[in-house]
């Protein structure tokens, strides 16, 4: 069972959340090539390690937020709000 730290509601069970997939996907402009469009629609980083992903507190405040989670250990390294840039995780570890 994951415990996710919702930026608004605090630490809650995985069951209250919905997973929204990889974060920081930027929709290409209308003149994008087929290849860019395919990459945006279908291709994913899917790393073994730190994954930046979106979650929604569906059965709570209903807000979306981002987390940086390790896909092997499920350890959550960072929780940050939508619209913020990718976290610099090395800096966090030095804190």
């Amino acid at each position: 069972m994951l415990r996710l730290n919702c930026p608004w509601c605090g630490s809650r069970d995985e069951l209250e959340f919905s997973f929204g997939g990889e974060s920081h996907l930027t929709r290409p402009m209308l003149d994008a090539s087929d290849q860019e469009w395919t990459d945006y629609l279908f291709n994913r980083d899917n790393p073994k390690g730190i994954h930046l992903e979106r979650w929604r507190h569906s059965y709570g405040c209903g807000q979306w937020f981002n987390i940086a989670r390790d896909t092997v250990t499920h350890e959550i390294h960072s929780v940050y709000k939508m619209g913020l840039p990718r976290p610099i995780l090395a800096a966090k570890e030095n804190d």
Binding site: M1, E14, T38, N43, D45, N46, K48, H51, H74
Partner: protein
């Protein structure tokens, strides 16, 4: 290869079973091979076997970072079926089922295929209409399917509770579907490939590719660099990682799909039962254990273990349909990392890197595809063009839009 037979078993019995030869060698990796297959699961081993047998390829190695058949081949729920909706999938998966029907003879290894029938349930009038449509499509594809009334379901599976939370409105059965023994499939292909001289190298993890002007020339491994003219990926959940090493991206998400077994009990369930709505499937193994599972955990995962919430959901779903199983104890639970594509159809064929081939994106249903996957990939590697059965599963379909949105791929909805 020394054949397994009644006589050889009888002879070994007399001499105390001390004279059995090893089923496959464990050679040191050579400096160069004609073909390297990465991943000694069912698909990788089958590909090596058919390359040697059908295409006369020599100098083949199968590299495995762990142990042979220790990934999804040894973690699935052993179900074989070909009840697919789209003609492209039906053609391919029914060919695979046909190969399964002769596999024990082909490999001289008993894969314990039991075509006990695979029943898919409907829990509403509308879903029943969906089931009729699905069964019709299967029959048009020249595959067996039979729609059943609730009474017929009850007769086939007496333990089922038809009046559960979502009452059973009927279903359809593919009688040629069933289960087989997954370890035997891996071991059978490994032994048969070994007999053709294929090197199966375990504990040898690929750490990178050598690519020169767009053409792959070898791999770096934890046991040194190995050169090869052609290389093929059969790494399931690690498809994205290997593709990244080779410099291209794939439409794959890796997730943990869990399954579990109960303690063994006397034979009580002789059909595979699946329910897309209640979200579970169950069968009873020859050892008497109930093997069951449901959907995959909802988030990306490379951890070979499932989450507790989904485990509880799977158990609850089973007990909803079969309240009689509520006193059973759960014996084991595990997970495999499955590579799910957006249209739940596999990725097969060529890649952007020359002489590098891919067999991946098998998601939650790769086991049933092992014989046909191996055979068609062997053709593809040998001829450097996709076999006609897998042309439509090529990587470029995501760019051209020719997706094969196969809802039946998972059997239960994901």
């Amino acid at each position: 290869m020394k054949g397994y037979s009644f006589i050889s078993v009888a002879r070994q019995a007399i001499s105390g079973h001390k004279g059995w030869p090893v089923a496959w060698r464990s050679p040191e990796p050579k400096k160069n091979y004609d073909v390297i297959i990465i991943g000694a699961g069912g698909h990788g081993l089958a590909t090596a076997y058919y390359l040697a047998k059908n295409h006369g390829a020599n100098h083949i190695a199968v590299l495995e970072k762990g142990w042979l058949g220790g990934g999804n081949t040894g973690r699935n729920t052993q179900i074989v079926r070909s009840n697919y909706y789209w003609p492209q999938s039906a053609r391919f998966f029914d060919h695979s089922l046909k190969l399964y029907e002769d596999l024990s003879q082909e490999l001289n290894f008993n894969v314990m295929l039991s075509q006990r029938g695979l029943l898919s349930l409907a829990h509403s009038r509308h879903e029943m209409e969906g089931i009729r449509r699905w069964a019709n499509a299967i029959k048009i594809n020249d595959i067996d399917a039979e729609v059943l009334t609730p009474e017929e379901v009850k007769k086939l599976v007496p333990l089922i509770d038809l009046n559960c939370r979502f009452p059973v409105h009927g279903g359809f059965i593919q009688r040629r579907g069933g289960i087989s023994r997954h370890d035997a499939v891996a071991w059978g292909y490994a032994r048969a490939a070994n007999a053709y001289g294929v090197d199966i190298i375990q504990q040898c993890e690929v750490t990178g590719f050598n690519i020169q002007s767009g053409q792959v020339t070898g791999v770096n491994t934890t046991r040194g660099a190995i050169g090869a003219e052609k290389i093929s990926l059969a790494v399931a959940g690690h498809t994205s990682e290997l593709a990244r090493m080779a410099g291209f991206r794939v439409p794959v998400t890796s997730m943990a799909l869990q399954a579990m077994v109960s303690e063994p009990i006397k034979p009580c369930l002789d059909t595979v039962v699946m329910s897309p709505v209640v979200h579970m499937y169950v069968s009873q193994s020859d050892r008497g254990e109930l093997i069951f599972g449901g959907g995959a955990d909802v988030y990306n995962s490379y951890a070979q273990r499932g989450g507790i919430p989904l485990l509880q959901e799977n158990v609850a779903s089973l007990l909803e349909l079969f309240p009689v199983f509520s006193r059973l104890r759960l014996m084991r639970q595990w997970a495999g990392i499955v590579d799910i594509t957006p249209d739940t159809s596999p990725l097969m064929g060529l890649t952007p890197v020359q002489n590098l081939y891919i067999s991946g994106g098998w998601g939650t249903g790769g086991y049933k595809a092992i014989p046909a996957g191996g055979e068609t990939m062997a053709y593809t590697i040998s001829n450097d063009r996709p076999h006609s059965l897998i042309e439509d599963f090529r990587l470029e379909r995501f760019e051209t839009g020719a997706l094969i949105d196969e809802g039946a791929a998972s059997g239960v909805s994901h």
